[in-house]
Amino acid sequence: MFANLTNALDFQAKALVLRADRQRVIASNIANADTPGYVGRDVNFKEAMSAALDESNTSSAPRLTASTSHARHIPLQAQTASLGSNSLAYTAQTQPAMDGNSVDMDRERANFVDNSVRYEATLRFINGQSKTILSAIQGQ
């Protein structure tokens, strides 16, 4: 029964982890904006998110397991999403540079702000849902 309460939270939690990963990827691009030969990377969020959801729906073998010493121990479920290497792509050069660097600073900054707004939105969804659950528990 309790799982039904927290299912919606799990979805947002996965989205939050993937947003944090994307933030890291964009930070790496901005850090390497002046490195010769660096090729920028970005996350295909749709693919990464559906991969994370598929993983939890059809998880025959959870990656993280806790040892159980009693028949009535409840096994731990692996709930964390992670960025698979197939959802990490390379960015194309918008304006070819002599040093082979494909980072477009305007695009990266826009992506960075976009991603932080979406991260905060996900955070707000989590806060709202946890408040809903809390008021349902308290029944007032």
């Binding site: 939050l16 982890v17 944090a20 990963d21 933030q23 890291r24 990827v25 930070a27 790496s28 901005i30 850090a31 390497n32 904006a33 002046d34 490195t35 010769p36 660096y38 990377r41 996350v43 960025l83 290497s85 990490l88 600073m105 900054r109 960075f112 702000v113 932080s116 991260y119 905060e120 955070l123 989590i126 806060n127 946890s130």
Partner: protein, 134 residues
Amino acid sequence: MSMFSIFNVSGSAVSAQAQRLNVVASNLANADAVAGPDGQGYKSRQVVFETVPMGSDASSGVRVNAIKESNEPLRRVHNPSHPSADADGYVTQSNVNPVEEMVNMISASRSYQNNVEVMNTAKTLMLKTLQMGQ
């Protein structure tokens, strides 16, 4: 928490850009330096950046791989009254191009600012995450 590595990534970039700024400062300071008696003047220096993988596939920092001296010929200026002038009246000076160095300085300072902003945003997001559920 995976966002902590943003500080490592942007921190490495900030320190690399600071080193670049340092090299620009010494180039500009020596722009008018005159060659000594051995004829060896100051040669302008440039940093070479290199990507450093940090832990996972998704995060990569940056570091200064090498500081290379420019191979441009030293500048020779006709100034017979100068105490260091040679028999033909020429003075050998450094090969620093001040215009190039100023452009380099602006580029380094912009990149520095960008990375500081990235760290600030990451910090704000993490503080908000800590308040989750309150």
